[in-house]
């Protein structure tokens, strides 16, 4: 098992094919899976997309972002508007229920448009803010995340603070698991490409990367935009899985939850991050009845993790934050 999983990691295309195969099998032959388990799997897959895409920004490129949930919100609202208002108005003679062929056929372009609008938001946010570093970047991304949330709260055509309900339940195991696999594959393939090495170069030493001719701002913005795209797709999947979205569901805490997944999985380790995302999803289910304790547990996990093994969890970031040969010196 271990060897075969290693082979899959070494050969991403094989892993991609296998993963898509699993997604198809789950969808076609998964009738025996009860609705609750299905929902947990959907959440796990969506969290995998979110965490692995944030890993590109935080883990591979070394930029701290606190607004991943806001990009998710942009994708969720865009795609929900498309399936809820635009498509039924444009094509009124088709049947628009969750499992009708029309909604399934149009779901892929809807998700991609949702992702693209989120990517545009990523470009708007990332362009100016990625000139900043560290603490300041964290605060500016937090600020942008909150601004997007406040804008949504004041946008009455999407329900304002009440949110949107009755969204088409178009998300199924095929789309969610398929996109999760596709995201992990894309991220691994991306950072292994010649172009993608630039991300890690920026993370490891921004000044040296710039000296080597890498346009560091461009690389950082690219990572941000790609991360935002996948977050937007995840948002679309989420909206069409839970059938209800509201601005509060995409607040700073949601972003923090994704950050916890990335840190627990290991920055710059997409497979580890995906596993952490699945584990946190399960943890959320176990702690569902104890929702107050959930955030306390998260907080303790993070604090203890940071204190007990900070060097290991932050190794990819270490050299970026403290340029020079002595990462332990202040």
């Amino acid at each position: 098992m271990f060897h075969s999983s290693k082979a899959l990691i070494r050969n991403p295309r094989l892993a991609l094919a296998a993963g898509i195969g699993v997604a198809v099998l789950l969808q076609l032959g998964g009738g025996w899976i009860d609705p609750y388990t299905t929902q947990v799997v959907l959440f796990a897959a969506i969290n995998v997309i979110l965490a692995v895409s944030l890993n590109l920004v935080m883990g591979e490129t070394g930029q701290f972002s606190l607004c991943h949930a806001a990009f998710m919100a942009v994708g969720a609202y865009t795609s929900a508007l498309l399936t809820g208002k635009a498509l039924p108005t444009l094509l009124p003679h088709l049947s628009w229920t969750g499992s009708s062929w029309a909604s399934q056929v149009f779901f892929l372009p809807v998700l991609l448009v949702g992702g693209s609008v989120a990517a545009l938001a990523g470009l708007i946010v990332g362009g100016p803010s990625l000139r900043l570093r560290g603490d300041y970047l964290a605060m500016v991304t937090l600020g942008f995340g909150e601004i997007i949330r406040v804008l949504l709260q004041n946008a009455n055509f999407v329900g304002g603070a009440r949110g949107m309900e009755g969204i088409l339940p178009a998300t199924n195991l095929f789309w969610a698991v398929g996109f999760a696999v596709l995201t992990v594959y894309t991220m691994i393939a991306l950072v292994r490409s010649t172009y993608g090495r630039g991300f890690q170069a920026v993370r490891d030493d921004e000044i040296a990367a710039a000296a080597m001719g890498i346009d560091t701002t461009r690389v950082k913005v690219t990572a941000f935009v790609i991360g935002a795209f996948f977050a937007g797709v995840a948002g679309g999947l989420y909206a069409h899985a839970v059938e209800f979205i509201s601005p509060e569901g995409f607040n700073f805490l949601r972003s923090f939850e994704i950050i916890v997944m990335v840190i627990l999985g290991g920055l710059g380790r997409p497979v580890g991050v995906a596993i952490a995302a699945i584990l946190i999803t399960l943890l959320n289910e176990w702690l569902r009845d104890l929702s107050q304790y959930r955030m306390v547990v998260y907080a303790l996990i993070i604090i203890l993790f940071m204190i007990l093994r900070p060097a290991e969890t932050l190794r990819p970031l270490l050299s970026r934050v403290l340029p020079g040969r002595k990462p332990a010196a202040s």
Partner: protein, 300 residues
């Protein structure tokens, strides 16, 4: 015009509270160069400490002004201890780690305090008692200042002057300034950096505690997540003034409070919470060192 003047007074009062909180951010940033995310939640603990102490303190001091003063001092003491404990347990083990590790830890501490607070104090809002009699001082025809607003401004002024004197005239203040310039050099000159950092957290958190009580007296209700928003806005105020600069934090707080109240009275009121972030983003893009800050060149 009266409306405008009234909003100016409200803004100054709100800004004074922001200034108190912003000073804590700035002091910690000055010595440790990191943003203490949990600062806003220390404020919340201060408000709750005051809330639970009011009945007892009121039994000892029947006079409303004495009660208020005692509640303020009690909350400041509780928060000072809390700040020292947080620094000792969560931040000191990471003293020589990357700033980002400490930043993430402080987000963790923030969540621990606010959600731990939900478990301890309950999720629901609690009505913060009116400590002062409802006095109003009228200025001119229709502009009035309430007792609460007067108290906020007086307490803030007092604490600001006390802090300034402490930093300029005491050995602790000297050590603090030395640390914020260069920690290693200060340590070589015999400054006990751990002790000074602990004391910095104590002072900064005490200011947050005072701000918590004052904030609670103005909004009349408290709940465990109340600290986040003023915390973030005060951070914006600190950055606006130039983080690390004490007068900057005070001026930044007042400016932010004024902006918020003046715009809050207009049609933009539902976007009020986004205004602070808009300001933050603008400053960081145009003048990252803030109004009073100095920018340091990065050494390679």
């Amino acid at each position: 015009m009266h409306e405008f003047l009234q909003q100016v007074i409200n803004g100054l009062s709100l800004g004074a509270i922001y200034a108190l909180i912003a000073l804590g951010y700035s002091m910690v940033y000055g010595v440790l160069k990191f943003i203490n995310f949990a600062h806003g939640d220390v404020l919340m603990i201060g408000a709750f400490a005051g809330f639970y102490a009011v009945p007892m303190i009121h039994g000892i001091f029947p006079d409303p002004w004495t009660t208020t003063a005692a509640v303020l001092i009690w909350s400041m003491a509780v928060c000072a201890v809390l700040g020292v404990v947080i620094e000792r347990l969560a931040y000191r083990p990471l003293r020589n780690q990357p700033k980002l590790a400490v930043l993430i830890t402080s987000i963790g501490v923030s969540l621990l305090l606010s959600y731990g607070g939900q478990i301890l104090f309950g999720v629901n809002q609690k009505a913060f008692p009116d400590l002062l009699p409802p006095i109003r001082v009228s200025l001119g025809s229709s502009v009035t200042i309430s007792g609460n607003h007067l108290l906020v401004m007086a307490v803030t002024l007092l604490l600001l002057v006390a802090l300034r004197e402490t930093i300029q005239r005491t050995r602790f203040g000297l050590a603090l300034r030395a640390l914020s310039q260069n920690r290693d050099a200060a340590a070589l000159m015999g400054v006990n950096s751990n002790a000074v950092i602990s004391l910095t957290f104590a002072v900064g958190s005490a200011l947050a505690g005072a701000a918590g009580v004052l904030y609670a007296m103005n909004i009349h209700s408290i709940e465990p997540l109340m600290g986040t928003l003023p915390g973030i806005k005060a951070f914006v105020a600190a950055v606006l003034g130039g983080i690390g600069s004490m007068p900057g934090a005070a001026v930044g707080g007042l400016l932010l409070g004024l902006t918020e109240c003046l715009l809050g009275g207009s049609d933009l009121s539902s976007y009020r919470d986004a205004i602070a972030f808009g300001i933050l983003i603008l400053i960081l893009l145009v003048r990252p060192s803030g109004l009073f800050g100095s920018s340091a060149a990065e050494k390679v």
